[in-house]
Protein backbone atom coordinates (compact mmCIF):
# COMPACT_ATOMS: atom_id res chain seq x y z
CA UNK A 1 0.00 0.00 0.00
CA UNK A 2 1.39 3.35 -0.95
CA UNK A 3 1.10 5.78 1.88
CA UNK A 4 1.70 9.47 1.56
CA UNK A 5 4.09 9.48 4.49
CA UNK A 6 6.26 6.80 3.00
CA UNK A 7 6.25 8.53 -0.34
CA UNK A 8 7.26 11.87 1.14
CA UNK A 9 10.04 10.28 3.13
CA UNK A 10 11.42 8.79 -0.08
CA UNK A 11 11.27 12.23 -1.65
CA UNK A 12 13.17 13.70 1.27
CA UNK A 13 15.80 10.98 1.10
CA UNK A 14 16.06 11.46 -2.64
CA UNK A 15 16.52 15.20 -2.39
CA UNK A 16 19.42 14.96 0.02
CA UNK A 17 21.08 12.26 -2.07
CA UNK A 18 20.39 14.24 -5.21
CA UNK A 19 22.25 17.23 -3.82
CA UNK A 20 25.49 15.31 -3.86
CA UNK A 21 24.84 14.33 -7.44
CA UNK A 22 24.09 17.96 -8.26
CA UNK A 23 27.46 19.10 -6.99
CA UNK A 24 29.33 16.36 -8.81
CA UNK A 25 27.36 16.70 -12.00
CA UNK A 26 27.84 20.47 -12.15
CA UNK A 27 31.57 20.00 -11.89
CA UNK A 28 31.50 17.32 -14.58
CA UNK A 29 29.45 19.30 -17.02
CA UNK A 30 31.45 22.48 -16.52
CA UNK A 31 34.68 20.68 -17.32
CA UNK A 32 33.10 18.89 -20.23
CA UNK A 33 31.62 22.02 -21.69
CA UNK A 34 34.92 23.86 -21.73
CA UNK A 35 37.53 21.17 -22.07
CA UNK A 36 35.56 18.44 -23.83
CA UNK A 37 36.87 15.96 -21.30
CA UNK A 38 34.53 13.71 -19.34
CA UNK A 39 36.49 13.84 -16.11
CA UNK A 40 36.23 10.28 -14.99
CA UNK A 41 38.25 10.97 -11.89
CA UNK A 42 35.63 13.33 -10.45
CA UNK A 43 34.28 10.67 -8.11
CA UNK A 44 37.68 10.04 -6.61
CA UNK A 45 38.28 13.75 -6.14
CA UNK A 46 35.07 13.78 -4.13
CA UNK A 47 36.49 10.92 -2.08
CA UNK A 48 39.68 12.89 -1.47
CA UNK A 49 37.59 15.82 -0.31
CA UNK A 50 35.79 13.60 2.18
CA UNK A 51 39.01 12.13 3.53
CA UNK A 52 40.65 15.53 3.69
CA UNK A 53 37.78 16.81 5.80
CA UNK A 54 37.91 13.66 7.88
CA UNK A 55 41.57 14.04 8.74
CA UNK A 56 41.26 17.78 9.38
CA UNK A 57 38.44 17.26 11.84
CA UNK A 58 39.32 13.91 13.39
CA UNK A 59 43.11 14.14 13.57
CA UNK A 60 43.70 17.86 13.84
CA UNK A 61 40.57 18.80 15.70
CA UNK A 62 39.61 21.48 13.24
CA UNK A 63 36.17 22.98 13.22
CA UNK A 64 33.92 21.30 10.63
CA UNK A 65 33.15 24.49 8.70
CA UNK A 66 36.80 25.49 8.57
CA UNK A 67 37.60 22.05 7.26
CA UNK A 68 34.95 22.47 4.60
CA UNK A 69 36.46 25.71 3.33
CA UNK A 70 39.99 24.37 3.53
CA UNK A 71 39.06 21.21 1.68
CA UNK A 72 37.45 23.18 -1.10
CA UNK A 73 40.55 25.29 -1.51
CA UNK A 74 42.80 22.25 -1.38
CA UNK A 75 40.77 20.43 -4.00
CA UNK A 76 40.69 23.49 -6.24
CA UNK A 77 44.45 23.74 -5.98
CA UNK A 78 44.73 20.05 -6.80
CA UNK A 79 42.58 20.72 -9.83
CA UNK A 80 44.97 23.42 -10.93
CA UNK A 81 47.91 21.07 -10.64
CA UNK A 82 46.11 18.35 -12.55
CA UNK A 83 45.23 20.75 -15.31
CA UNK A 84 48.73 22.15 -15.56
CA UNK A 85 50.55 18.84 -15.57
CA UNK A 86 48.15 16.51 -17.28
CA UNK A 87 45.32 18.02 -19.23
CA UNK A 88 47.02 21.13 -20.54
CA UNK A 89 50.00 19.25 -22.06
CA UNK A 90 47.52 16.87 -23.63
CA UNK A 91 45.23 19.48 -25.13
CA UNK A 92 46.03 18.60 -28.71
CA UNK A 93 45.71 14.87 -28.60
CA UNK A 94 42.68 12.92 -29.77
CA UNK A 95 39.86 13.21 -27.27
CA UNK A 96 39.75 9.55 -26.50
CA UNK A 97 43.27 9.82 -25.06
CA UNK A 98 42.01 12.43 -22.60
CA UNK A 99 39.38 10.01 -21.45
CA UNK A 100 42.00 7.34 -20.91
CA UNK A 101 44.11 9.92 -19.06
CA UNK A 102 41.20 10.64 -16.74
CA UNK A 103 40.96 6.89 -16.21
CA UNK A 104 44.64 6.67 -15.40
CA UNK A 105 44.18 9.54 -12.96
CA UNK A 106 41.35 7.62 -11.32
CA UNK A 107 43.59 4.58 -10.90
CA UNK A 108 46.40 6.65 -9.43
CA UNK A 109 44.15 8.40 -6.93
CA UNK A 110 42.46 5.16 -5.92
CA UNK A 111 45.75 3.37 -5.41
CA UNK A 112 47.17 6.25 -3.43
CA UNK A 113 44.05 6.43 -1.29
CA UNK A 114 44.15 2.70 -0.60
CA UNK A 115 47.77 2.98 0.41
CA UNK A 116 47.71 6.15 2.47
CA UNK A 117 44.25 6.00 3.99
CA UNK A 118 44.02 2.27 4.50
CA UNK A 119 41.35 -0.06 3.27
CA UNK A 120 39.15 -0.10 6.33
CA UNK A 121 36.07 2.03 6.41
CA UNK A 122 36.22 5.18 8.46
CA UNK A 123 33.50 7.07 10.25
CA UNK A 124 33.56 10.83 10.08
CA UNK A 125 32.08 11.95 13.37
CA UNK A 126 30.97 15.54 13.89
CA UNK A 127 29.11 16.99 16.87
CA UNK A 128 25.73 16.70 15.23
CA UNK A 129 26.31 13.28 13.66
CA UNK A 130 23.46 11.63 15.46
CA UNK A 131 21.07 14.49 15.56
CA UNK A 132 17.84 13.70 13.79
CA UNK A 133 15.34 16.39 12.96
CA UNK A 134 11.73 15.29 13.00
CA UNK A 135 8.84 17.27 11.61
CA UNK A 136 5.59 15.48 12.00
CA UNK A 137 5.85 11.93 10.74
CA UNK A 138 8.99 12.70 8.75
CA UNK A 139 12.56 12.63 9.87
CA UNK A 140 15.82 13.67 8.34
CA UNK A 141 19.23 13.60 9.96
CA UNK A 142 20.68 17.03 10.56
CA UNK A 143 23.69 16.26 8.42
CA UNK A 144 21.50 15.64 5.41
CA UNK A 145 19.77 18.96 5.96
CA UNK A 146 23.20 20.56 6.00
CA UNK A 147 23.89 18.86 2.69
CA UNK A 148 20.75 20.28 1.14
CA UNK A 149 21.34 23.81 2.45
CA UNK A 150 25.01 23.68 1.53
CA UNK A 151 24.24 22.61 -2.01
CA UNK A 152 21.69 25.38 -2.34
CA UNK A 153 24.18 27.99 -1.19
CA UNK A 154 26.92 26.73 -3.46
CA UNK A 155 24.74 26.48 -6.54
CA UNK A 156 23.33 29.96 -6.07
CA UNK A 157 26.84 31.32 -5.61
CA UNK A 158 27.96 29.52 -8.74
CA UNK A 159 25.06 30.89 -10.73
CA UNK A 160 25.77 34.45 -9.58
CA UNK A 161 29.41 34.00 -10.43
CA UNK A 162 28.74 32.82 -13.93
CA UNK A 163 25.97 35.20 -14.84
CA UNK A 164 26.95 38.34 -13.03
CA UNK A 165 30.73 38.56 -13.04
CA UNK A 166 33.14 39.24 -15.84
CA UNK A 167 35.14 36.10 -15.20
CA UNK A 168 31.98 34.06 -15.17
CA UNK A 169 31.11 35.54 -18.52
CA UNK A 170 34.42 34.39 -19.96
CA UNK A 171 33.58 30.90 -18.75
CA UNK A 172 30.29 30.92 -20.52
CA UNK A 173 31.81 32.40 -23.65
CA UNK A 174 34.53 29.77 -23.83
CA UNK A 175 32.01 27.00 -23.33
CA UNK A 176 29.82 28.28 -26.11
CA UNK A 177 32.43 28.90 -28.75
CA UNK A 178 36.08 28.36 -28.01
CA UNK A 179 37.54 29.96 -31.09
CA UNK A 180 35.22 32.91 -30.82
CA UNK A 181 36.31 33.49 -27.27
CA UNK A 182 39.94 33.38 -28.34
CA UNK A 183 39.18 35.97 -30.98
CA UNK A 184 37.76 38.23 -28.31
CA UNK A 185 41.06 38.11 -26.50
CA UNK A 186 39.95 35.76 -23.78
CA UNK A 187 42.81 33.66 -22.47
CA UNK A 188 41.24 30.32 -23.03
CA UNK A 189 43.96 28.47 -21.17
CA UNK A 190 43.33 30.35 -17.95
CA UNK A 191 39.62 29.94 -18.34
CA UNK A 192 40.01 26.23 -18.83
CA UNK A 193 42.16 26.01 -15.74
CA UNK A 194 39.55 27.93 -13.80
CA UNK A 195 36.80 25.65 -14.99
CA UNK A 196 38.78 22.63 -13.92
CA UNK A 197 39.45 24.17 -10.52
CA UNK A 198 35.77 24.91 -9.98
CA UNK A 199 34.97 21.35 -10.99
CA UNK A 200 37.34 19.81 -8.49
CA UNK A 201 36.37 22.33 -5.85
CA UNK A 202 32.74 21.30 -6.18
CA UNK A 203 33.76 17.69 -5.75
CA UNK A 204 35.61 18.64 -2.58
CA UNK A 205 32.59 20.45 -1.13
CA UNK A 206 30.40 17.47 -1.92
CA UNK A 207 32.81 15.14 -0.16
CA UNK A 208 33.03 17.10 3.06
CA UNK A 209 29.30 17.76 3.15
CA UNK A 210 28.30 14.14 2.81
CA UNK A 211 31.26 12.71 4.73
CA UNK A 212 29.61 12.55 8.14
CA UNK A 213 26.55 10.84 6.71
CA UNK A 214 28.24 7.88 5.02
CA UNK A 215 31.06 5.40 5.42
CA UNK A 216 34.39 6.64 4.14
CA UNK A 217 36.22 4.16 2.03
CA UNK A 218 38.53 4.56 -0.97
CA UNK A 219 35.97 3.47 -3.55
CA UNK A 220 33.14 5.58 -2.19
CA UNK A 221 33.32 7.88 -5.18
CA UNK A 222 32.46 5.41 -7.91
CA UNK A 223 28.76 5.02 -7.21
CA UNK A 224 28.01 8.75 -7.07
CA UNK A 225 30.25 9.32 -10.11
CA UNK A 226 28.24 6.95 -12.24
CA UNK A 227 24.99 8.56 -11.22
CA UNK A 228 26.49 12.01 -11.80
CA UNK A 229 27.55 10.97 -15.30
CA UNK A 230 24.06 9.74 -16.02
CA UNK A 231 22.73 13.04 -14.72
CA UNK A 232 25.02 15.01 -16.99
CA UNK A 233 23.97 13.02 -20.02
CA UNK A 234 20.32 13.10 -19.05
CA UNK A 235 20.36 16.81 -18.37
CA UNK A 236 22.45 17.68 -21.38
CA UNK A 237 26.22 17.81 -21.56
CA UNK A 238 27.60 21.29 -21.19
CA UNK A 239 24.58 22.77 -19.50
CA UNK A 240 24.80 23.40 -15.76
CA UNK A 241 21.08 23.89 -15.41
CA UNK A 242 20.64 20.58 -17.18
CA UNK A 243 23.07 18.88 -14.84
CA UNK A 244 21.24 20.22 -11.81
CA UNK A 245 17.89 19.15 -13.14
CA UNK A 246 19.17 15.76 -14.23
CA UNK A 247 20.89 15.09 -10.91
CA UNK A 248 17.85 16.13 -8.96
CA UNK A 249 15.53 13.89 -10.94
CA UNK A 250 17.89 10.93 -10.82
CA UNK A 251 18.29 11.32 -7.07
CA UNK A 252 14.54 11.02 -6.71
CA UNK A 253 14.37 8.13 -9.16
CA UNK A 254 17.02 6.26 -7.24
CA UNK A 255 15.26 6.76 -3.93
CA UNK A 256 11.82 5.85 -5.22
CA UNK A 257 13.09 2.88 -7.19
CA UNK A 258 14.97 1.59 -4.14
CA UNK A 259 11.90 1.86 -2.04
CA UNK A 260 9.18 0.65 -4.34
CA UNK A 261 10.94 -1.76 -6.65
CA UNK A 262 14.28 -2.98 -5.46
CA UNK A 263 17.24 -1.44 -3.76
CA UNK A 264 19.76 -3.70 -5.46
CA UNK A 265 18.62 -2.78 -8.95
CA UNK A 266 18.41 0.96 -8.37
CA UNK A 267 21.62 1.65 -10.27
CA UNK A 268 20.17 -0.22 -13.23
CA UNK A 269 17.28 2.22 -13.44
CA UNK A 270 19.57 5.21 -13.28
CA UNK A 271 21.80 3.83 -15.98
CA UNK A 272 18.86 2.70 -18.00
CA UNK A 273 17.71 6.30 -18.13
CA UNK A 274 21.14 7.40 -19.29
CA UNK A 275 21.27 4.79 -22.03
CA UNK A 276 17.77 5.60 -23.23
CA UNK A 277 18.70 9.28 -23.31
CA UNK A 278 21.77 8.56 -25.38
CA UNK A 279 19.80 6.49 -27.82
CA UNK A 280 16.74 8.61 -28.28
CA UNK A 281 17.65 12.14 -27.31
CA UNK A 282 21.42 12.51 -27.09
CA UNK A 283 21.01 16.20 -26.49
CA UNK A 284 19.49 15.47 -23.11
CA UNK A 285 16.91 17.67 -21.49
CA UNK A 286 18.60 21.03 -21.77
CA UNK A 287 21.67 20.32 -23.85
CA UNK A 288 22.77 22.72 -26.49
CA UNK A 289 24.31 20.59 -29.20
CA UNK A 290 25.12 17.04 -30.06
CA UNK A 291 28.79 16.27 -29.76
CA UNK A 292 30.57 16.61 -33.02
CA UNK A 293 33.77 14.69 -33.79
Amino acid sequence: MVTAVEFCQYILNGISQGCIYILLASGLTLVFGILNVPNFAQGHLYMIGAYFGFYMVMSFGMNYWMALILATMALAFLGLLLYKFIFYPMRDVPEVNLFVAAMALLMIIEGAALFFFGTETKWFVVPYSRHVVTFGPFALPLQRIIVILGTLVVMIALQIFIKKTMIGATLEATAQQREGAMLCGIKVTSVSALAFMIGTGLAGIAGVLIGPAVLLEPTMGMGPLLVAFSAVVFGGMGSIAGAVLGAFILGLVESLASGYISATYSLTFVFGIMILTLLFRPKGLLGREVWRP
Partner: protein, 329 residues
Protein backbone atom coordinates in the same frame (compact mmCIF):
# COMPACT_ATOMS: atom_id res chain seq x y z
CA UNK B 1 71.16 -1.37 -49.38
CA UNK B 2 67.68 -2.36 -48.30
CA UNK B 3 67.84 -4.99 -45.63
CA UNK B 4 65.18 -5.11 -43.02
CA UNK B 5 66.55 -6.67 -39.87
CA UNK B 6 63.41 -8.51 -38.93
CA UNK B 7 60.49 -9.69 -40.89
CA UNK B 8 57.42 -10.13 -38.82
CA UNK B 9 57.63 -13.91 -38.95
CA UNK B 10 61.16 -14.19 -37.64
CA UNK B 11 60.25 -12.05 -34.64
CA UNK B 12 57.31 -14.18 -33.62
CA UNK B 13 58.77 -17.63 -34.02
CA UNK B 14 61.32 -17.44 -31.18
CA UNK B 15 58.65 -15.94 -28.95
CA UNK B 16 56.36 -18.83 -29.68
CA UNK B 17 59.11 -21.34 -29.03
CA UNK B 18 59.90 -19.72 -25.70
CA UNK B 19 56.23 -19.73 -24.77
CA UNK B 20 56.07 -23.45 -25.42
CA UNK B 21 59.35 -24.51 -23.93
CA UNK B 22 59.83 -22.45 -20.77
CA UNK B 23 56.69 -23.28 -18.74
CA UNK B 24 57.47 -26.97 -18.07
CA UNK B 25 60.63 -25.84 -16.37
CA UNK B 26 58.92 -23.23 -14.27
CA UNK B 27 57.07 -23.77 -11.02
CA UNK B 28 53.32 -24.24 -10.76
CA UNK B 29 52.78 -20.72 -9.59
CA UNK B 30 54.44 -19.20 -12.63
CA UNK B 31 52.38 -21.38 -14.93
CA UNK B 32 49.15 -20.23 -13.31
CA UNK B 33 50.31 -16.63 -13.76
CA UNK B 34 51.00 -17.34 -17.43
CA UNK B 35 47.54 -18.79 -17.90
CA UNK B 36 46.03 -15.60 -16.52
CA UNK B 37 48.33 -13.50 -18.69
CA UNK B 38 47.19 -15.43 -21.76
CA UNK B 39 43.55 -14.94 -20.88
CA UNK B 40 43.95 -11.22 -20.35
CA UNK B 41 45.99 -10.93 -23.52
CA UNK B 42 43.03 -12.40 -25.36
CA UNK B 43 40.91 -9.70 -23.73
CA UNK B 44 43.39 -7.15 -24.98
CA UNK B 45 43.12 -8.48 -28.49
CA UNK B 46 39.38 -8.20 -28.16
CA UNK B 47 39.67 -4.52 -27.27
CA UNK B 48 42.29 -4.10 -29.96
CA UNK B 49 39.80 -5.00 -32.65
CA UNK B 50 37.18 -2.47 -31.65
CA UNK B 51 39.47 0.23 -30.31
CA UNK B 52 42.94 -0.29 -31.70
CA UNK B 53 41.81 -0.86 -35.24
CA UNK B 54 38.29 0.55 -35.47
CA UNK B 55 38.86 3.48 -33.18
CA UNK B 56 35.87 3.07 -30.85
CA UNK B 57 36.80 2.88 -27.18
CA UNK B 58 34.62 0.30 -25.50
CA UNK B 59 34.55 -0.05 -21.73
CA UNK B 60 32.17 -2.96 -22.03
CA UNK B 61 34.60 -5.78 -22.78
CA UNK B 62 34.48 -6.91 -19.17
CA UNK B 63 30.74 -7.37 -19.53
CA UNK B 64 31.19 -9.77 -22.46
CA UNK B 65 33.87 -11.55 -20.50
CA UNK B 66 31.40 -11.99 -17.66
CA UNK B 67 28.61 -13.07 -19.99
CA UNK B 68 30.85 -15.69 -21.57
CA UNK B 69 32.01 -16.95 -18.19
CA UNK B 70 28.57 -17.07 -16.62
CA UNK B 71 26.92 -18.61 -19.67
CA UNK B 72 29.53 -21.33 -19.56
CA UNK B 73 29.11 -21.72 -15.80
CA UNK B 74 25.35 -21.98 -15.92
CA UNK B 75 25.32 -24.35 -18.87
CA UNK B 76 27.82 -26.70 -17.33
CA UNK B 77 26.71 -26.55 -13.71
CA UNK B 78 22.96 -26.18 -13.95
CA UNK B 79 22.18 -27.75 -17.29
CA UNK B 80 25.02 -30.26 -17.21
CA UNK B 81 26.16 -29.61 -20.72
CA UNK B 82 29.47 -31.05 -21.82
CA UNK B 83 32.54 -28.86 -22.12
CA UNK B 84 32.63 -28.27 -25.87
CA UNK B 85 28.91 -27.71 -26.51
CA UNK B 86 28.89 -25.30 -23.57
CA UNK B 87 32.01 -23.61 -24.91
CA UNK B 88 30.52 -22.88 -28.30
CA UNK B 89 27.16 -21.95 -26.89
CA UNK B 90 28.70 -19.48 -24.45
CA UNK B 91 30.89 -17.87 -27.08
CA UNK B 92 27.86 -17.60 -29.31
CA UNK B 93 25.87 -15.97 -26.53
CA UNK B 94 28.65 -13.48 -25.88
CA UNK B 95 28.85 -12.64 -29.57
CA UNK B 96 25.10 -12.31 -29.81
CA UNK B 97 25.02 -9.85 -26.93
CA UNK B 98 27.78 -7.91 -28.63
CA UNK B 99 25.72 -7.78 -31.77
CA UNK B 100 22.55 -6.69 -29.98
CA UNK B 101 24.29 -4.06 -27.89
CA UNK B 102 26.29 -2.84 -30.85
CA UNK B 103 23.30 -2.00 -32.97
CA UNK B 104 22.06 0.86 -30.83
CA UNK B 105 25.35 1.75 -29.21
CA UNK B 106 27.39 2.24 -32.35
CA UNK B 107 25.03 4.91 -33.58
CA UNK B 108 26.88 7.17 -31.15
CA UNK B 109 30.33 8.55 -31.40
CA UNK B 110 33.17 9.39 -29.08
CA UNK B 111 32.42 9.93 -25.39
CA UNK B 112 28.76 9.04 -25.90
CA UNK B 113 29.68 5.59 -27.13
CA UNK B 114 32.14 5.16 -24.28
CA UNK B 115 29.43 6.04 -21.78
CA UNK B 116 26.95 3.60 -23.25
CA UNK B 117 29.43 0.75 -23.08
CA UNK B 118 30.20 1.81 -19.54
CA UNK B 119 26.52 1.79 -18.68
CA UNK B 120 26.12 -1.64 -20.20
CA UNK B 121 29.03 -2.93 -18.17
CA UNK B 122 27.60 -1.53 -14.94
CA UNK B 123 24.18 -3.00 -15.62
CA UNK B 124 25.63 -6.43 -16.34
CA UNK B 125 27.58 -6.22 -13.10
CA UNK B 126 24.49 -5.27 -11.12
CA UNK B 127 22.38 -8.02 -12.68
CA UNK B 128 25.00 -10.67 -12.01
CA UNK B 129 25.00 -9.72 -8.35
CA UNK B 130 21.32 -9.09 -7.89
CA UNK B 131 19.76 -11.99 -9.78
CA UNK B 132 20.72 -14.44 -7.10
CA UNK B 133 18.48 -17.25 -8.24
CA UNK B 134 20.14 -17.35 -11.60
CA UNK B 135 23.73 -16.49 -10.93
CA UNK B 136 24.25 -17.18 -7.26
CA UNK B 137 24.89 -13.51 -6.72
CA UNK B 138 27.93 -12.47 -4.76
CA UNK B 139 28.41 -16.07 -3.69
CA UNK B 140 29.60 -16.76 -7.18
CA UNK B 141 29.30 -19.91 -9.19
CA UNK B 142 31.50 -22.91 -8.70
CA UNK B 143 32.20 -26.22 -10.33
CA UNK B 144 33.05 -25.37 -13.90
CA UNK B 145 34.76 -28.28 -15.66
CA UNK B 146 38.10 -28.33 -17.33
CA UNK B 147 38.17 -29.35 -20.98
CA UNK B 148 37.24 -32.98 -21.55
CA UNK B 149 40.20 -35.36 -21.70
CA UNK B 150 41.65 -35.85 -25.15
CA UNK B 151 42.72 -39.28 -26.30
CA UNK B 152 46.31 -39.31 -27.48
CA UNK B 153 47.36 -41.09 -30.68
CA UNK B 154 49.89 -43.19 -28.81
CA UNK B 155 47.48 -44.41 -26.19
CA UNK B 156 46.43 -42.87 -22.92
CA UNK B 157 44.64 -39.60 -22.45
CA UNK B 158 45.56 -36.01 -21.90
CA UNK B 159 43.61 -34.57 -19.00
CA UNK B 160 43.42 -30.91 -18.25
CA UNK B 161 43.21 -31.09 -14.49
CA UNK B 162 46.74 -29.98 -13.95
CA UNK B 163 48.16 -26.60 -14.80
CA UNK B 164 50.51 -27.32 -17.67
CA UNK B 165 47.98 -28.83 -20.09
CA UNK B 166 45.59 -26.02 -19.19
CA UNK B 167 48.31 -23.54 -20.06
CA UNK B 168 48.84 -25.03 -23.48
CA UNK B 169 45.10 -25.05 -24.00
CA UNK B 170 44.90 -21.32 -23.32
CA UNK B 171 48.05 -20.68 -25.34
CA UNK B 172 46.47 -22.50 -28.25
CA UNK B 173 43.50 -20.15 -28.20
CA UNK B 174 45.73 -17.14 -27.81
CA UNK B 175 47.72 -18.08 -30.90
CA UNK B 176 44.51 -18.86 -32.76
CA UNK B 177 43.10 -15.45 -31.95
CA UNK B 178 46.36 -13.75 -32.85
CA UNK B 179 46.49 -15.40 -36.22
CA UNK B 180 42.84 -14.58 -36.77
CA UNK B 181 43.42 -10.95 -35.83
CA UNK B 182 46.35 -10.72 -38.17
CA UNK B 183 44.42 -12.13 -41.10
CA UNK B 184 41.43 -9.97 -40.26
CA UNK B 185 43.39 -6.76 -40.12
CA UNK B 186 45.19 -7.43 -43.36
CA UNK B 187 42.01 -8.29 -45.20
CA UNK B 188 39.64 -5.91 -46.91
CA UNK B 189 37.40 -5.79 -43.89
CA UNK B 190 40.36 -4.94 -41.72
CA UNK B 191 41.22 -2.01 -43.92
CA UNK B 192 37.68 -0.77 -43.51
CA UNK B 193 38.11 -0.89 -39.75
CA UNK B 194 41.25 1.17 -40.01
CA UNK B 195 39.64 3.64 -42.38
CA UNK B 196 36.81 4.16 -39.91
CA UNK B 197 39.31 4.83 -37.16
CA UNK B 198 40.97 7.57 -39.20
CA UNK B 199 37.87 9.37 -40.31
CA UNK B 200 34.45 7.86 -40.16
CA UNK B 201 32.64 10.44 -42.25
CA UNK B 202 35.24 10.26 -44.98
CA UNK B 203 34.93 6.50 -45.08
CA UNK B 204 31.19 6.73 -45.28
CA UNK B 205 31.48 9.15 -48.15
CA UNK B 206 33.52 6.57 -50.03
CA UNK B 207 30.46 4.36 -50.04
CA UNK B 208 31.37 2.01 -47.21
CA UNK B 209 28.60 1.05 -44.83
CA UNK B 210 30.29 2.12 -41.63
CA UNK B 211 27.45 1.00 -39.41
CA UNK B 212 27.58 -2.67 -40.35
CA UNK B 213 31.36 -2.62 -40.38
CA UNK B 214 31.42 -1.25 -36.87
CA UNK B 215 28.87 -3.78 -35.71
CA UNK B 216 30.94 -6.56 -37.20
CA UNK B 217 34.02 -5.28 -35.42
CA UNK B 218 32.17 -5.01 -32.12
CA UNK B 219 30.67 -8.48 -32.45
CA UNK B 220 34.03 -10.03 -33.22
CA UNK B 221 35.55 -8.36 -30.19
CA UNK B 222 32.65 -9.56 -28.05
CA UNK B 223 33.25 -13.11 -29.26
CA UNK B 224 36.90 -12.87 -28.32
CA UNK B 225 36.04 -11.53 -24.88
CA UNK B 226 33.57 -14.36 -24.49
CA UNK B 227 36.26 -16.90 -25.29
CA UNK B 228 38.48 -15.33 -22.65
CA UNK B 229 35.61 -15.57 -20.18
CA UNK B 230 35.01 -19.25 -20.84
CA UNK B 231 38.71 -20.03 -20.53
CA UNK B 232 38.84 -18.20 -17.23
CA UNK B 233 35.79 -20.00 -15.88
CA UNK B 234 37.23 -23.34 -16.86
CA UNK B 235 40.63 -22.59 -15.40
CA UNK B 236 39.58 -21.00 -12.13
CA UNK B 237 36.65 -23.37 -11.46
CA UNK B 238 35.01 -20.51 -9.57
CA UNK B 239 33.63 -17.26 -10.96
CA UNK B 240 32.13 -14.25 -9.29
CA UNK B 241 30.41 -11.07 -10.50
CA UNK B 242 33.49 -9.02 -9.73
CA UNK B 243 35.10 -10.11 -12.99
CA UNK B 244 32.49 -8.28 -15.06
CA UNK B 245 32.82 -4.97 -13.23
CA UNK B 246 33.89 -2.17 -15.47
CA UNK B 247 37.02 -1.80 -13.36
CA UNK B 248 38.29 -4.87 -15.22
CA UNK B 249 37.35 -3.15 -18.46
CA UNK B 250 39.51 -0.21 -17.46
CA UNK B 251 42.40 -2.54 -16.71
CA UNK B 252 42.19 -3.95 -20.23
CA UNK B 253 42.28 -0.43 -21.68
CA UNK B 254 45.38 0.28 -19.61
CA UNK B 255 47.10 -2.88 -20.83
CA UNK B 256 46.32 -2.09 -24.43
CA UNK B 257 47.34 1.55 -24.38
CA UNK B 258 50.62 0.76 -22.66
CA UNK B 259 51.35 -2.08 -25.02
CA UNK B 260 50.36 -0.15 -28.08
CA UNK B 261 46.87 -0.04 -29.55
CA UNK B 262 46.48 -1.00 -33.14
CA UNK B 263 49.45 -3.32 -33.25
CA UNK B 264 49.89 -7.06 -33.03
CA UNK B 265 52.51 -7.07 -30.31
CA UNK B 266 50.81 -4.39 -28.26
CA UNK B 267 48.29 -6.54 -26.38
CA UNK B 268 50.95 -9.05 -25.42
CA UNK B 269 53.51 -6.52 -24.27
CA UNK B 270 51.04 -4.41 -22.35
CA UNK B 271 49.45 -7.30 -20.50
CA UNK B 272 52.84 -8.77 -19.71
CA UNK B 273 54.24 -5.58 -18.27
CA UNK B 274 51.21 -4.46 -16.31
CA UNK B 275 50.51 -7.89 -14.90
CA UNK B 276 54.11 -8.64 -14.05
CA UNK B 277 54.55 -5.43 -12.08
CA UNK B 278 51.95 -6.26 -9.42
CA UNK B 279 53.67 -9.58 -8.93
CA UNK B 280 56.93 -7.84 -8.25
CA UNK B 281 55.17 -5.63 -5.74
CA UNK B 282 53.06 -8.31 -4.11
CA UNK B 283 54.39 -7.08 -0.81
CA UNK B 284 52.41 -3.89 -1.23
CA UNK B 285 49.25 -4.94 -3.08
CA UNK B 286 47.43 -1.65 -2.57
CA UNK B 287 50.03 0.10 -4.68
CA UNK B 288 49.26 -2.04 -7.69
CA UNK B 289 46.45 0.16 -8.99
CA UNK B 290 48.49 3.25 -8.43
CA UNK B 291 51.56 1.92 -10.21
CA UNK B 292 49.46 0.78 -13.17
CA UNK B 293 47.81 4.18 -13.27
CA UNK B 294 51.15 5.99 -13.16
CA UNK B 295 52.61 3.83 -15.89
CA UNK B 296 49.54 4.40 -18.02
CA UNK B 297 49.71 8.14 -17.46
CA UNK B 298 53.41 8.30 -18.34
CA UNK B 299 52.76 6.42 -21.54
CA UNK B 300 49.84 8.66 -22.42
CA UNK B 301 51.93 11.76 -22.03
CA UNK B 302 55.23 10.62 -23.46
CA UNK B 303 54.57 7.58 -25.58
CA UNK B 304 50.89 7.34 -26.49
CA UNK B 305 51.57 4.73 -29.11
CA UNK B 306 52.68 2.35 -26.43
CA UNK B 307 55.66 0.06 -26.22
CA UNK B 308 54.96 -1.24 -29.70
CA UNK B 309 54.89 2.27 -31.01
CA UNK B 310 58.17 3.00 -29.36
CA UNK B 311 59.67 -0.01 -31.04
CA UNK B 312 58.40 1.13 -34.41
CA UNK B 313 59.79 4.61 -33.92
CA UNK B 314 63.11 3.07 -33.03
CA UNK B 315 63.06 0.85 -36.07
CA UNK B 316 62.02 3.75 -38.25
CA UNK B 317 64.89 5.82 -36.99
CA UNK B 318 67.39 3.14 -37.77
CA UNK B 319 66.05 2.36 -41.18
CA UNK B 320 65.16 5.82 -42.33
CA UNK B 321 68.74 6.87 -42.69
CA UNK B 322 69.26 4.19 -45.28
CA UNK B 323 66.15 4.17 -47.37
CA UNK B 324 63.30 6.43 -48.16
CA UNK B 325 60.09 4.99 -46.85
CA UNK B 326 58.38 6.19 -49.97
CA UNK B 327 60.80 4.97 -52.53
CA UNK B 328 59.51 2.32 -54.83
CA UNK B 329 56.07 2.32 -53.31
Amino acid sequence: MKMPLFTKATAWLPALILAIVIPPMAGGYLVSMLILICIWTIMCFSLNIIYGYTGQLSLGQAAFFGIGAYAFGLLTVKVNMGFWPAFFASVFIAGLSGFLIGIPALKLRGPYFILVTLGFSVIVGVVLVAWVDLTGGANGLAGMPRPSPVPLPWGGRLTFDSLLPMYYFTLFFLVLIMVFSHRLINSLIGRRFIAISYNEDLTESLGIDTMSTKILSFTISAIMAGIAGVLYASYNVVISPEMAYFARGMDVVAYLVVGGAGTMAGPILGTLVLMAVPELLQVIPSLKTMINGIILMLFLIFLPSGISGGFKALKGRIIRSRTSPYAGS
